[in-house]
Amino acid sequence: MLEACVFATVLFGFFGIVLKRSLVMKIVAMDVMSTGVIAYYVLISARSGLFTPILPGGTEATEQVAYADPVPQAVILTAIVIGFSIQALMLVGVMKLSRNHPTLETDVIEQSTTP
């Protein structure tokens, strides 16, 4: 069920990218899509358990606890940072473009910029 929701988020994001006409909306849709991907990583790492994988200081683990898998969580942190920096960069580009193309419709920009 949860997995279906996550994939729905990814798909909605992708459809947004294809169907929305404004460049800003496309970027927002891309963000939705990447949120879906991040949620999927969190979901996968929670398959084995929900507990935060931290051993209490100095003690040996005695009881069996269902820990979450830390590897995908650590990895997706990198992807989140990269994702938001790319978005920031894109929005700067969009700001520059908006001076001459206030509506920011991609087909209009495309027509006026490609020879």
Binding site: V10, M30, Y40, Y41, V71, P72, I82, G93, D107
Partner: protein, 481 residues
């Protein structure tokens, strides 16, 4: 040995930041880094056995360098050196050099790593650096072209990330070796990401506009080595999992034919070169075992061609027919075009012979067709009129330009040594015949007709839509094997 490898990976990034701090030394530092890479690549190519490195425990970064990687690194390094020479006398700011060297470093990292997450990071750094380089002139057009590139590659990388976590779920590791146990949907998603990044087949149609509209040194870098960062991981996966072999080879042939089909009809010099890059990437994938050498020769040739075409007074080949170009520039064009058509003496010949030897039977027709198309499309450049004091952009043809060309063409001649066995009678006759047929076809047919192929598929929306179609196709292909 290990320290050397780590130092080599880190050096370009370190230098990139140093250049910001000491802008006066930008060119020297960038050039030093690129030359260090050349030396390192030569060392890797002649290593008796590959280097394997695992940094930081179990889930850390894994690096793998063998002679195949060595060729790709050498391409990267030589093209960077040439581009730096070319830009030496221009008024490019320190920012440009810093980005160039960071781009160089990220491509190196993408070539060296063999786990999906390091590859993801390297590819994303590479997209950002190339976006900044494309948008460097800061005109509306370049910003839009850059944005488009960043958008397409970022969406592709999101699909790739989903594939990567599926691989992890199946094998509890992000390394390429996990592909063997991965479910088919994981493969399809990862391949989509790499195909788009590598500019392969219909998912690579973002490439012509991006490469043609950027500045010539940036186009040279993009076509020379940036797209290959997506191709090498595909080759690696193919070498690990032999069931994927037919899919990769089929994509190779399809790409080679599609790219050359567009290139033959194209009337704009830079766009023709860009389409031709698509087709050459197909050649690399068509025979993955020997792709490294092909990548090297293609990178050098394409960089030389982009730099040279950038100095011509016009991009339109019809207009160029009317105004003779300067003979020295024309000679460079001819040398590079001969190499890429597979004429003996230059290493394009050896690379083509090697690729053709490693094809499986069903590929032969397609690849020969693509080779013929290459000869036809480059006849357009070879038969441009020329005279001693012909038209040329004087601002761009300076000493730096000749140094860059010397590096690239010299590299092409020297690279012959890597595969000297290619020079047999049968091998020599075949490309000569192909070129002859190509030229005849050019004079009889293609010079007269003027067909304008629609650019519909290159529009932004269609690029995205095409991505989903390729994904569906990949699902089907991977399930079928």
């Amino acid at each position: 040995m290990n320290t050397l490898t780590i130092a080599w990976i880190a050096l370009p990034f370190f230098m990139g930041f140093i250049i910001y701090l000491i802008p006066k030394l930008d060119r020297v530092l960038a050039m030093g880094t690129a030359l260090a890479s050349v030396a390192y690549a030569m060392w890797v190519i002649f290593l008796p056995q590959p280097i394997e490195l695992t940094l930081l425990d179990n889930f850390g970064v894994t690096l793998f360098l063998d002679s195949l990687t060595g060729y790709f690194i050498l391409t990267n390094a030589l093209v960077t050196v040439a581009v730096l020479f070319y830009c030496w006398q221009t008024d490019k700011s320190a920012f440009f050099y810093a980005q160039t060297i960071i781009l160089h470093g990220s491509v190196n990292a993408a070539f060296a790593c063999v786990d999906f997450i390091s590859l993801y990071v390297a590819l994303e750094v590479l997209s950002i650096a190339s976006f900044l380089l494309i948008a460097y002139p800061r005109s509306d057009r370049t910003i839009w072209v850059g944005l488009r590139y960043l958008f397409v590659s970022n969406v592709a990388m999101l699909f790739y990330l989903v594939g990567a976590v599926l691989v992890y779920q199946a094998s509890h590791s992000f390394s390429f070796a996990g592909v063997r146990e991965a479910p088919p949907e994981a493969l399809a998603l990862i391949f989509l990401g790499l195909l788009v990044k590598g500019g392969i087949f219909v998912s690579g149609l973002w490439l012509p506009i991006t490469h043609a509209e950027s500045d010539s040194p940036v186009s040279a870098m993009m076509s020379g080595f940036v797209v290959k960062a997506g191709v090498l991981p595909l080759v690696r996966c193919e070498l690990l999992v032999s069931e994927l072999d037919p899919i990769i080879r089929a994509f190779g042939v399809a790409t080679a034919v599609l790219g050359v089909f567009y290139a033959v009809f194209e009337k704009d010099a830079k766009r023709m070169l860009a389409f031709h890059t698509v087709s050459q990437l197909g050649f690399i994938l068509a025979a993955p075992e020997v792709g490294g050498f092909y990548a090297l020769t293609h990178g050098l040739v394409k960089a030389a061609l982009f730099l040279t075409v950038g100095t011509l007074p016009s991009r339109n080949l019809k207009e160029l027919q009317q105004m003779p170009i300067a003979t020295p520039v024309w000679i460079v064009l001819v040398a590079a075009s001969f190499s890429i058509s597979g004429f003996p003496m230059l290493s394009g010949f050896g690379a083509k012979a090697l690729t053709m030897k490693n094809l499986v039977p069903w590929q032969v027709v397609g690849m020969n067709l693509a080779a013929l198309g290459t000869a036809i499309s480059f006849a357009k450049l070879i038969f441009l009129p020329h005279q001693r004091d012909g038209a040329v952009d004087k601002d761009k043809v300076k000493t730096g330009f000749w140094w860059a060309i010397a590096v690239l063409i010299g590299g092409l001649v020297a690279a012959n040594l890597f595969y000297i066995e290619a020079y047999t009678i049968a091998n020599i006759i075949k490309p000569l015949a192909t070129i002859a047929v190509g030229w005849v076809a050019y004079f009889l047919i293609f010079r007269r007709i003027s067909v304008k192929l629609p650019r519909l598929l290159e529009q932004f929306e269609h690029l995205m839509g095409m991505m989903s179609l390729v994904l569906v196709f990949l699902f089907w292909a991977v399930f079928a094997t």
